[in-house]
C-alpha cells in the first residue's frame, strides 16, 4: 500500500502539442501492491500521461523513475521490457491466432529451435489457471468473449513486464458479471505485488477496486486521495472543478407534451433484424429505449433511419406518409441519427470539425449548392460555443478530439440541419462526466424547444432522468412501454429481466 516504496514515479512530467499543453508538470506516484485509479474528463491528460509513461510519447520535460531508476522508454515495447505493461480497451491481440499463441507470441517455448505446441498449450493453461480461466487454449482468441480476451491480454502483459500494469478503460465493453471477473484478476495481481494503474469512466467501479485515486483536469494534477477519504460528490467536484447539479429525479418525467402524434410508425419492421412495432412520437417528447446489447435497440434506430430499410409497415409524419428507404430519405424527412459507434459510423476523422459539422446540412442541400465558406465557419463557431466543444480551432481534424467532444460534433452535425426528430444511440457512451452532464442537459433543452428524440442508452439513471416514455426491447421485439411515473430504474430492469425468467420457465 501507500507505505510501500514507490514503484513508478512521474515527477513534473510535461507534454505539449502544437496549440495545446496536454500535460503540465504532473506528478504521479504508484506503489507496489496498489490499484491506483487515474481519473479525469476526456482531454484531462490521462491518455497523455499514460503514453508518456509507456514511451508512446516522448515527454517534453520531467522525470519518470521506475524503482528509483530514471527511465526513457523509446516505445511501448521498450517499456514492456522495463516492466511496464499496458492493456487497452480495444484488445490489441491477434484474433485469428489461438489463445496460447497470443499469450506467447514472440516468446514461444522452443525445443530444438522449433515451437513446441505441446509445451505452448500446457504453459498457456498453467498461466491462465492463475487468472481463474479454464478454457481451451487451442481455440482462436476471437471465439471468446471480450472479457476473456481482456484477461488473456492482461496475462500476456503481466508475463512480459511484471512490475506495473496499466489498464486503459478495460471495462468499457464488459457486462457486470465480466467486470467482477476482471476485478478478481486485478485483486489477485495486487496481492502478488504489482502496481496497477486503472483508468475508467465508471465511478462505481473505481470505488469498488481502487486504493487511491489521482484526478487530472486540463492537463494538471488536481490531487491524489485515498479512496476512504473520498465520496462521490467530492470526486466529481475534483474532476469537474465545479458543483455538479445532481439530477435527483427518481422517476421518469411526467410533463409529457400533449397533442397529436408527430411521427407514427405502424407495423414497422425489418425481417431478420427487428420484429414489426408500432410507435407514435409527439413533438417535444423524449422516448428512451432500453435493452441489453443486441436486443434490437440499434436495429430499431437503423430501421427508422433507413440504414437497413424497413420491409414491413409504414411511417407517417403529421399524417403524411414518408419514405425511409435510405439515410437520405430520413434526412429529407427531418430526421437525424447519431450512431452508437462514433469512430466507424459517425465522425469523418481526417476532416475538420467545421466540415464534420456542415456535412449533413451540405449533403441535404446537394453538391451543387455549396454552403458558403463564411457560413460554414459561422455554423462551426456557433456550435463550438453552444455545445462547448473543446478545441483550439474549427479546422482541427475531428479525429484528434476526445470522445466527448467528438460526440458533441456529431450532435452539432445534426442540430445544424434543424431536425424535428433526433435518434441518439448511446450518446453518452465512453465520454467523461462533464460532457455526459452537458449532453443530458442538451437533450432536455432540445425537447423543450419542441424537438422529438429517441434516445437509446444502457445508463438507466440517465433514461429515467430525461424520458417521458421508455420502450424496453429484447429479442428484437418491443416488449414493454413505461410512461411517466412508471419509469424507474427498477421497473426498467424488471422489464428487461422478465425475459430471463421466461427463458428459464
Amino acid at each position: 500500500m501507500a507505505e510501500n516504496p514507490p514503484l513508478l514515479r512521474a515527477e513534473a512530467v510535461s507534454k505539449g502539442f502544437p496549440g495545446t499543453i496536454a500535460l503540465d508538470a504532473v506528478d504521479f506516484t504508484l506503489v507496489a501492491g496498489e490499484v491506483h485509479a487515474l481519473l479525469g474528463e476526456n482531454g484531462a491528460g490521462k491518455s497523455t500521461l499514460i503514453k508518456c509513461l509507456t514511451g508512446a510519447y516522448r515527454r517534453d520535460s520531467g522525470d519518470v523513475l521506475l524503482e528509483g531508476q530514471l527511465i526513457h522508454p523509446r516505445d511501448p515495447l521498450d517499456a514492456q521490457g522495463l516492466g511496464i505493461g499496458t492493456v487497452y480497451q480495444e484488445v490489441n491481440l491477434l484474433p485469428n491466432l489461438t489463445v496460447a499463441e497470443n499469450l506467447f507470441l514472440g516468446h514461444q517455448p522452443r525445443r530444438f529451435g522449433f515451437v513446441s505446441q505441446g509445451r505452448l498449450k500446457s504453459q498457456a493453461r498453467e498461466t491462465l489457471s492463475h487468472y481463474g480461466l479454464n478454457i481451451d487454449v487451442s481455440r482462436n482468441l476471437d471465439t471468446y468473449s471480450v472479457a476473456v480476451q481482456q484477461i488473456v491480454a492482461i496475462a500476456r502483459a503481466v508475463r512480459l513486464s511484471g512490475k506495473v500494469l496499466i489498464l486503459d478503460e478495460p471495462t468499457a465493453s464488459l457486462d457486470a458479471h465480466e467486470v467482477q471477473m476482471l476485478f478478481e484478476v486485478i485483486r489477485t495481481l495486487k496481492r502478488r505485488g504489482l502496481g496497477i494503474v486503472f483508468i475508467s469512466h465508471f465511478l462505481d467501479q473505481v470505488f469498488d477496486v481502487s486504493d487511491r485515486i489521482t484526478v487530472l483536469r486540463n492537463g494538471r494534477l488536481v490531487g491524489t486521495e485515498r479512496v476512504g477519504d473520498l465520496d462521490r460528490m467530492k470526486l466529481v467536484n475534483m474532476m469537474l472543478g465545479r458543483e455538479l447539479e445532481q439530477e435527483t429525479r427518481v422517476t421518469g418525467r411526467t410533463d409529457a407534451p400533449s397533442g397529436g402524434p408527430h411521427l407514427t410508425f405502424e407495423r414497422f419492421g425489418r425481417s431478420g433484424r427487428m420484429a414489426p412495432f408500432d410507435l407514435a412520437v409527439r413533438r417535444g417528447e423524449v422516448i428512451g429505449m432500453a435493452g441489453l446489447l443486441g436486443s434490437g435497440r440499434t436495429e430499431t434506430a437503423e430501421a427508422i433511419f433507413g440504414v437497413t430499410p424497413h420491409d414491413s409497415g409504414d411511417a407517417r409524419k403529421d399524417g403524411e406518409r414518408i419514405d425511409l428507404k435510405s439515410p437520405r430519405d430520413a434526412v429529407a424527412a427531418g430526421f437525424g441519427f447519431s450512431p452508437e459507434d462514433r469512430k466507424t459510423d459517425g465522425i469523418i476523422g481526417d476532416l475538420s470539425i467545421r466540415e464534420n459539422i456542415v456535412l449533413a446540412l451540405q449533403a441535404r442541400a446537394g453538391w451543387s449548392r455549396p454552403i458558403p465558406p463564411r457560413r460554414q465557419v459561422e455554423l462551426a463557431d456557433q456550435f463550438i460555443r453552444r455545445l462547448d466543444i473543446r478545441t483550439s480551432d474549427a479546422e482541427k481534424p475531428v479525429g484528434l478530439l476526445s470522445g466527448g467532444n467528438q460526440q458533441k460534433v456529431m450532435l452539432a452535425r445534426w442540430l445544424a440541419t434543424n431536425p424535428t426528430f433526433l435518434v441518439l444511440d448511446e450518446p453518452t457512451r465512453g465520454i467523461d462526466v462533464g460532457a455526459h452532464a452537458e449532453i443530458i442537459r442538451l437533450i432536455e433543452e432540445l425537447c423543450a424547444q419542441g424537438m422529438s428524440l429517441l434516445v437509446i442508452s444502457s445508463e438507466l439513471d440517465e433514461l429515467v432522468a430525461y424520458s417521458h416514455r421508455v420502450i424496453v426491447v429484447r429479442d428484437r421485439r418491443h416488449v414493454a412501454e413505461l410512461a411517466g411515473a412508471e419509469i424507474t430504474t427498477d421497473s426498467i430492469v424488471k422489464a428487461i429481466a422478465s425475459h430471463e425468467a421466461e427463458q428459464q420457465a
Partner: protein, 341 residues
C-alpha cells in the same frame, strides 16, 4: 494560417521536386531550357514535357478523384485505347469532328459508368472491379480497330494531337483547361468535400445523408472522361489508333503521379494541382532520360531510382526525422517552460 498559405505549403514539396529534376536535366543536357518558336509553335524540351505529359496529366486528374474516394482505376489505359479507337473509327467512317469526339467521350463515360456500377452498386473492390476493364478493354479496342493500327487523316482530329493555339500545343491547352475546370468544379461546389468525406469514412458519410453511391459512380465517370480526352490526344498525336499500345501501363504512371502529388491511397484529402505537378515530374524524368543519351537499358533503373528517392523523401518517417532535425538547433519550447511544483 490562411487558405493561400496552406495551399502553397501543400504543393511546395511537389514544386521543389520538379525544380530539382529540371535542374538535374539541365546539368546533364545544358540546352534544356531553350525554347523558341518554330513553325508557329513553341519548340523546346520544356514544351515537350508539357506536351508529352498530357495523357498522364489528364489521367491523373480523374485518378485523383477516384483515389480520394479510397478507390483506384486500373482501367484508364485500356479506356484510352477504346476511346482512341472509337475516335479513329468515327473519323474513318466519315463522321464530322464533333460527332467523332462525342462518340469517343461517350465511350469513355460508358466505361466509367461500368466501373462505377461495379464499385458502387455491386460493391466489388475497386482494384478488382477496374481490373476487369483493364484486361477486357484492350480486347474491345482491338475489335474496333480490327487488330491493326487504324490510321486517319481528318485534319480537325489531328489538330487535337499536334496542332497549336497561339503557339501552345493543343494537348497542353487541353490538360491545363481540364485541370482548371475539374478543380473549379470540385472546389466551388461541395463535391470536393463530399468526395473527401466518403473517402475517409464511406459508412459515416452515407449515414450523414451523403449520396455516396451516386458520388462514387460520378468519380469513375470523371476518370473515364479524362481517359477519353487522353485517348483522343494519344491517337491524334500519331494519326492512328493503336489498340495494343495506346495508354499501355499509363494507369500506373497516373497512380504514381497522384501518389507523388501527395494524395493518400487511403482516400480523403486530395489536390488535383499537386497530381498534375506529379504528372509533370514523371514526364520530366522520361524526357530527361531520353535527352541524356544513356543506353536504353538504363531507362527503367534511372526512373526507379528517382521515384524511390521522391517517395523516400515524402515518407512519413523521413518527414518526422526532418522536423526532428529542424528543431534540434533552436531551443525546444518545452525546455524553457517553467515547471511549477
Amino acid at each position: 494560417m490562411n487558405g493561400a498559405a496552406r495551399f502553397a505549403r501543400r504543393i511546395a514539396p511537389q514544386l521543389a521536386i520538379l525544380a530539382a529534376i529540371l535542374v538535374l536535366i539541365s546539368i546533364v543536357f545544358p540546352g534544356f531550357f531553350e525554347v523558341r518558336i518554330a513553325n508557329g509553335r513553341l519548340y523546346g524540351s520544356p514544351i515537350d514535357i508539357l506536351n508529352r505529359g498530357a495523357p498522364v496529366a489528364l489521367l491523373a486528374i480523374g485518378m485523383t478523384l477516384v483515389i480520394a474516394t479510397r478507390g483506384i482505376d486500373l482501367s484508364v489505359g485500356a479506356v484510352m485505347a477504346i476511346c482512341g479507337a472509337t475516335a479513329a473509327w468515327g473519323s474513318t467512317e466519315g463522321y464530322a469532328l464533333p460527332a467523332t469526339l462525342a462518340l469517343s467521350i461517350a465511350a469513355g463515360l460508358a466505361c466509367g459508368l461500368w466501373n462505377g456500377f461495379l464499385v458502387a452498386v455491386l460493391r466489388i473492390q475497386p482494384i478488382v472491379a477496374t481490373l476487369i476493364l483493364m484486361v477486357a478493354g484492350r480486347g474491345i479496342a482491338q475489335l474496333i480497330t480490327e487488330g491493326a493500327i487504324l490510321t486517319f487523316n481528318q485534319e480537325g482530329l489531328i489538330f487535337i494531337g499536334s496542332g497549336s493555339i497561339l503557339t501552345v500545343p493543343t494537348p497542353v491547352i487541353i490538360w491545363m483547361i481540364a485541370g482548371l475546370l475539374f478543380t473549379l468544379v470540385v472546389r466551388w461546389t461541395a463535391l470536393g468535400m463530399l468526395i473527401e468525406a466518403i473517402g475517409v469514412n464511406l459508412r459515416a458519410s452515407t449515414l450523414a445523408g451523403v449520396n455516396s453511391r451516386v458520388l462514387l459512380i460520378a468519380v469513375y465517370m470523371a476518370s473515364g472522361l479524362c481517359a477519353s480526352f487522353a485517348g483522343i490526344i494519344a491517337a491524334a498525336d500519331i494519326r492512328g489508333a493503336d489498340a495494343n499500345n495506346a495508354g499501355l501501363w499509363l494507369e500506373l504512371d497516373a497512380i504514381l503521379a497522384v501518389v507523388i502529388g501527395g494524395t493518400s491511397l487511403l482516400g480523403g484529402r486530395f489536390s488535383i494541382l499537386a497530381s498534375l505537378i506529379g504528372a509533370l515530374i514523371i514526364q520530366a524524368m522520361n524526357t530527361g532520360i531520353l535527352l541524356s543519351g544513356f543506353p536504353p537499358e538504363f531507362n527503367l533503373i534511372i526512373k526507379a531510382l528517382i521515384v524511390l528517392t521522391i517517395l523516400v523523401l515524402q515518407s512519413p518517417a523521413t518527414r518526422t526525422a526532418a522536423i526532428f532535425f529542424r528543431r534540434q538547433p533552436g531551443t525546444d519550447p518545452a525546455d524553457t517552460r517553467t515547471v511549477t511544483p
